[in-house]
């Protein structure tokens, strides 16, 4: 290495040539390889593009908390780390559970021998204290997701190894909701003494113990020898390096200073890494539980007319758009209200029946023009489309939308709103048509759809639709999956077709290239999931 460094110092002449070579290299993708027998040892080094504002996941929203810190903690349940759909709950510190016949009482058996990193034993009391903090935070303590647990009537810990959740009404999503990657289990005594303690300190029961956090630089964890799952974790330690600039993230993986970045790279970045590293890199891809929507302001003309809203969605050639845009930015699949490939996703044949999802784009656009004529704007009209000032995928998507709307005679001017002013603008309703966005941590209708309810703060288009409200409520209480699917299809048809309250664009596409020696990690649709690293190992 020293020799390389000395050579590097004297190689100024090669600089420009080297840069030029980098620009012309072709690209290819290598599929994920099969997983072999786990090997113990080594340090996993990964890039995190964001950094934890505080250490308390109960009151944070960014993956910058989850990626470096999830290995320190356990949750009651977790999403199966091997399930590519990211929708199958399995036990974490809950060894097993039973559900009462009326589906109102869930009784969890808590594992024995689970220890906090300070050596004390975890009991159901700790689980209850953690959920109390989430559901009923003490004064001055924030809990960002407590509204997601509106169905819970009570929680209890009748003995050291039993945790009971009672519901007000049956809720099909409750198990997945209890597998939330944000709901880290904290120590009851600590919370009782100081509910703010976990904002600046770490003490969990996860596979790795905390070593150090150097702000702006890195986070280090080391193997927890007392982890309940004997034999795990396989790694000796991990090191999360905070790098915000995407070019530096790519360089870190390319230079093998880092092995993986768990969020996502863009398609050109993936291609660059594959070309540079060949078989030393493996790429895992998945539809991503993030999507851009088009919000249309229902209180502003002509968007108060559902024919105009339908025309806007009918104009979009999503299938061709997906093909083209997936080469340059983070979108790819055409989906409805759920991520394609997940349990409640719309089957493609049904999806094609919805307005704007048909394969015959000429027929769709003819229908769009007919609707505009019927709505009294036969020659189209002009409007301003407000987009968020973020390069990927907002800007390419915005350009694509404008080009699509132009095909039906609409004259659209794009206005880019600076990122921090964007949500206030949406909340004020200061737009005619705007790019909207949502990103979930588990693909689950109960978590993804509340924004479409009439009273929701995130219903930026301000539609009032009691039918949607009712269908949402019914699907959440349907305990039979098939019944639930039927209701969801009705909701989807009303939301995207009949009333066209919003228009979904294209599903985000998650791309995680990593060094091939990183094994035991499976991509899911959510970058908030599968970050405990207990099953991850290095083959060399």
């Amino acid at each position: 290495m020293q020799r390389s460094l000395v050579r590097a110092l004297g190689a100024a002449v090669t600089l420009i040539a080297a840069a030029s070579i980098a620009a012309v290299i072709p690209v290819a993708v290598i599929p994920a390889g099969a997983q072999d027998k786990p090997r113990s040892g080594g340090e996993l080094i990964f890039v995190v593009p964001s950094e934890p504002p505080s250490y308390d996941a109960h009151q944070e929203e960014t993956f910058g908390v989850i990626h470096p810190m999830a290995p320190h903690y356990s949750t009651l349940l977790r999403v199966d780390p091997n399930d590519k759909t990211g929708t199958k709950p399995v036990g974490d510190i809950a060894e097993s559970w039973t559900v009462s016949k009326d589906a109102l009482t869930y009784t969890f058996k808590i594992r024995q021998g689970v220890k906090f990193h300070d050596g004390s034993e975890l009991t159901a009391k700790d689980v209850k204290a953690s959920y109390d903090k989430i559901l009923k935070p003490p004064a001055g303590v924030k809990s960002l997701r407590k509204e997601a647990y509106g169905s819970i009537a009570s929680i209890d810990a009748p003995d050291a190894h039993t945790f009971v959740v009672k519901l007000k009404y049956p809720e099909s999503s409750i198990l997945l909701n209890l597998a939330s990657p944000w709901n880290w289990v904290y120590k009851a005594d600590i919370i009782a003494k100081d509910p703010h303690w976990y904002e600046k300190n770490v003490n969990g029961t996860g596979p790795f113990k905390f070593v150090e956090h150097v702000k702006g630089s890195h986070w280090v964890g080391k193997k927890n020898p007392d982890y309940w799952d004997k034999g795990k974790p396989y790694l000796d330690s991990y090191r999360a390096i905070f790098i915000s600039a995407s070019a530096a993230q790519v360089a870190a993986v390319r230079g093998e200073r880092a092995m993986i970045q768990f969020r996502s790279f863009s398609p050109p970045e993936r291609d660059q890494l594959v070309q540079a590293l060949g078989n030393k890199i493996t790429v895992q891809e998945s539809p991503w539980d993030c999507v851009n929507l088009v919000a249309m302001h229902h209180e502003k003309k002509p968007f108060d007319d559902k024919r105009v809203r339908r025309a806007l969605t009918l104009a979009l050639d999503r299938y061709e758009g997906g093909k083209a845009l997936s080469k340059i930015t983070l979108v790819k699949d055409v989906g409805g209200i759920q991520v394609p490939g997940t349990p409640y996703a719309t089957p493609p044949a049904e999806l094609e029946k919805l307005a704007g999802y048909g394969r015959d784009i000429n027929a769709s656009r003819a229908e769009a023009k007919r609707l505009l004529k019927e709505a009294g704007v036969p020659d189209g009209f002009s409007f301003v489309f407000k987009n968020r000032g973020i390069p990927h995928p907002y800007e390419p998507l915005g350009i694509w939308l404008i080009s699509q709307w132009k095909q039906i005679g609409l004259n659209v001017r794009q206005e880019i709103i600076e990122a921090s002013a964007y949500h206030p603008m949406l909340k004020r309703g200061d737009f005619e048509v705007a790019m909207d966005f949502q990103c979930g941590f588990i693909v689950e209708p109960d978590l993804d759809l509340p924004r479409f309810l009439s009273h929701s703060d995130a219903n930026y288009g301000r539609h009032k639709d009691t039918v949607i409200d009712d269908l949402y409520s019914r699907q959440g209480r349907a305990t039979d999956p098939e019944e639930r699917k039927k209701i969801l299809r009705q909701l989807e048809k009303r939301l995207l077709d009949e009333e066209a309250h919003v228009a979904y664009t294209l599903q985000w596409h998650r791309i995680v290239p990593h060094l091939s020696k990183v094994k035991g990690w499976t991509i899911t649709p959510s970058h908030y999931l599968n970050n405990q690293l207990d099953a991850v190992w290095l083959s060399e």
Binding site: A8, L9, K142, L144, V214, K215, G255, S420, D457
Partner: protein, 317 residues
């Protein structure tokens, strides 16, 4: 002399107050605030109640004059408060990054001085020869090349040609000097080259001017050797404008390496500045601006002292 220095020193305080007021107002003109950015993000799931309480916790619900007086009273006691984004004390956030930024600034200054003064003097002595032209081309190229671009080229070269990348994590010099140099030499070279170009141009023109002075001709006429003419008479006088440029560039480097720090992933003040603005972390932005302004003001003060030392005429005015 003392009166001169005291006067210059006292001028620092109204300047700092002006900077404080301007920063405080300007940062609040930008739309959005830290609460909006941290909690009202992508899912829009956080209730208005939480947002209101958080704003109250940071004092953002108070009138602007009250926010300013509270903050400036803290600054007067050297208490810059806590980061609104991380909740950590401001001094802690800055201290972490200051050592790295200072080291890069010092290393870049060493590179710049080592290149600019000898080459600038050489170009002046060999005016209109191929040496002068070569130095001028080298310096113009340095002025025309953004240091972040050169940094990118360095990284690409290291990656493509040598399959090697500088360390991504900062190791203090006293912990592991070799690891530290491996990481920081590249940004120091990238920044130092542009920095040296400015110094080179200034050294050359100052030397050309001084070498035409009567006292240089007198020194030569009395038979002083060239080396002594340059060292004793020419260089010291030519260094006045060069020192100004080098000092101001040094002050700039403390907080101004925003893009270069991103390119090399350096955990320095420039990157912290960008993050603070992106997060609308008012307390941190204000403290950083005060710090950088303070560095500029102190460097200016030291330059004034240096002028007085280099040019005795200044002392008696």
């Amino acid at each position: 002399m003392w009166r001169y220095l005291v006067k210059r020193f006292m001028l620092m305080f109204p300047t700092m107050l002006g900077v404080a007021l301007l920063t405080f107002i300007l940062i609040r003109v930008i739309p959005g605030d830290v609460v909006e950015l941290r909690y009202a993000g992508d899912r829009g799931a956080v209730s208005q109640d939480v947002l209101t309480k958080e704003r109250a916790r940071f004092g953002l619900d108070q009138p602007l004059w009250k926010q300013f007086t509270t903050w400036i009273w803290g600054v007067a006691r050297l208490d810059f408060g806590e980061s609104m984004w991380t909740g950590a004390p401001i001094w802690q956030e800055i201290r972490l990054r200051f050592a790295l930024s200072l080291q890069v600034a010092i290393m870049a200054t060493i590179v710049a001085v080592a290149l600019s003064i000898p080459l600038g003097v050489l170009a002046a002595l060999k005016q209109d020869t191929w040496i002068d032209y070569a130095v001028r081309i080298f310096s113009i190229a340095g002025l025309a090349t953004p240091s972040f671009w050169l940094g990118i080229v360095f990284i690409l070269m290291l990656l493509i040609v040598f399959h090697w990348l500088p360390p991504m994590v900062y190791t203090p010099f006293w912990v592991n000097p070799w690891e530290n140099i491996k990481q920081l030499i590249w940004p120091a070279l990238a920044v130092g080259y542009r920095y040296s170009a400015v110094g080179m141009r200034m050294t050359r023109s100052a030397m050309l001017e001084v070498l035409r002075e009567d006292y240089i001709r007198t020194a030569r006429a009395k038979g002083l050797v060239q080396r002594l003419v340059l060292a004793r008479h020419a260089l010291k006088n030519a260094m006045l404008p060069v020192a100004t440029v080098i000092a101001l560039e040094f002050a700039f480097l403390i907080g101004g390496l925003v893009v270069t720090e991103q390119v090399f992933n350096l955990n320095g003040l420039g990157l912290l500045f960008v993050q603070a603005v992106a997060h609308r972390d008012y307390t941190l932005i204000q403290a950083l601006v005060m710090l950088v302004a303070g560095v500029f003001i102190v460097v200016n003060f030291l330059m004034d002292v240096g002028y007085a030392w280099l040019d005795p005429r200044i002392r008696y005015r």
